[in-house]
Symmetry: C2
Subunit: 311 residues, 2 copies
């Protein structure tokens, strides 16, 4: 028991903020919400994430875990506001923030001060940003850190679905008079024993489960292939693309990627689709990023505030 | 010497955020910028103030002082983001934050962490929110705290212009052959001595200076008349109006004001105009606030994000 019985697999990624350090009107600081199996995970929480969440109608009722990639303001300054506003909405479930250990030291006094009367607690789960490790694991998803190459300790996150149930072959189940009460355990892999004692192998009653989905978030980072194996074959990769290739001096100096870098990583990692974002505000035409990436990896999309990707 | 020689007096108030605790898309958390005599003062800095500042094209080049009314998140959670983003724009001038002493304790570790490489410093100037005191004074403006009545220590701010120069009567100045080099000191009150030794009294050469302007900011607060004398006759009063009169139970419980409360205070304080804001998101039609206030004080305006008041 305990395995998830959900048969259909679907990831929904809501982009709350797609901008870089100098936020634009329609490109707030980095924040995303990934929904899967009736759970929601927030990835980074830049300033204004709470406003964008409401503007785009993204619910947060099942959002209990927040993953912060690194301690630059444009990836974490929305935390206090997001959580404290939820303290006024009747929310009761605790929050867990997964982040670099310094975040605990810096933010816990503020949570204690501003959120002292809340009906829920905020827990801090520090992770080590220098090595890849599993930081969340339940019956339906495993989340692994992806150490990145940035000016401060920084980590991406890999969301890997698990525990997908097989599909019941209803025609065969009816043929063997399988009662509805047995469906759940059969979808989880059990054989069926008829009233006559005949064992019907699980393979006869089911078709294979969907292939588990995989989403990788990689921001902020210079080009690096160290996470290639972990990300390999992902259904979707978000990779930062702060600059264009022509500004490689800036990329190297600030340890950011170009659109071409993101596309090259996507190609080598053989992912199904690439989303790029975190564009520097110095560029007025973001289609330049798309053009640059598509020359290397065609199935590329631009992140923008409010956009939703389903895969 | 040293007195400001500016003759024309004009205050420009830019509303960056006009909402209350549950920010709306077009009603971000409280923040305003008051511009006068080529100086800018920020009053409160709710989350997203930096985005609104850029969206509305409000410059911050001469904004060196930030005044925080109280330590509720919707009045101060934008501080870190606002200041740290300016650290990337080549700004060199220091910031001074005037706030309750707890703000220093809570935020200084974050400024040290996130702003350590900035070319400017952030200073904290705590004030005592329980008594009215002058917390800023220069040649052109004096800023006094206005202790308010809220659930936590809270203070409004009174901005009083000073040092306005007299207007030169150019016709009379020419008649007495006053050289241009003497204009400045005459506008500041000096008499003029002709080449023949004749003393021309200042009153002959000038007309009186404009009446100094006065702006009072009062948020968040329950109705209270304790600042009536200080605010009396102000050119403009911003007073919170979180609720309508019909929800007086909520006002009393949360120590907020109704639109009628704000208007009554404006009327008793004999101010020239009233701006109300901080409307609870429970009301979908903000014109209800305007109607309620106008029944008591006609010259009332609604605050909204991006609105600019000149007085």
């Amino acid at each position: 028991m305990g395995a998830c019985t959900k048969e259909m697999s679907e990831f929904k990624l809501s982009i709350l903020g797609s901008g870089s350090a100098m936020a634009g009107i329609n490109a707030f600081h980095t924040s995303q919400v990934l929904s899967l199996r009736n759970k929601q995970f927030m990835i980074d929480c830049g300033e204004g994430a709470q406003m964008k969440l409401r503007e785009y109608g993204v619910s947060s009722g099942r959002l209990n875990h927040i993953f912060i990639s690194h301690l630059h303001g444009d990836h974490c300054f929305g935390l206090l506001g997001f959580i404290s506003t939820l303290g006024m909405t009747g929310r009761k479930a605790d929050f867990t923030i997964h982040a670099h250990p310094d975040l605990t030291k810096l933010f816990s006094p503020l949570f204690e001060y501003f959120c002292q009367e809340f009906p829920f607690s905020v827990h801090f789960e520090p992770y080590t940003p220098y090595k890849s490790e599993v930081i969340y694991d339940d019956k339906s998803v495993k989340i692994t850190t992806l150490p990145l190459k940035h000016r401060v300790p920084c980590s991406g996150f890999l969301f890997e679905e698990k525990g997908l149930a097989k599909h019941l072959n209803r025609r065969m189940a009816d043929a063997y008079n399988v009662p509805i009460s047995k469906f759940k355990e059969i979808k989880e892999g059990a054989d069926f024993v008829t009233d006559d004692g005949e064992v019907i192998p699980n393979e006869v009653l089911t078709t294979p489960a969907d292939t588990p989905k995989k989403y990788a978030f990689m921001s902020d980072t210079a080009y690096s292939e160290k996470n290639l194996d972990l990300v390999y074959g992902a259904d979707c990769l978000y990779h930062e693309a702060t600059f264009l290739k022509e500004d490689s001096v800036r990329s190297k100096l600030t340890l950011h990627s170009s659109a071409a870098d993101a596309a090259l990583f996507a190609k080598k990692a053989n992912v199904k689709q690439l989303i790029i974002g975190h564009f520097s505000s110095r560029y007025k035409d973001v289609s330049l990023f798309l053009n640059e990436a598509k020359q290397i990896f065609d199935n590329t999309y631009l992140a923008s505030d409010g956009k939703v990707f389903v895969f």
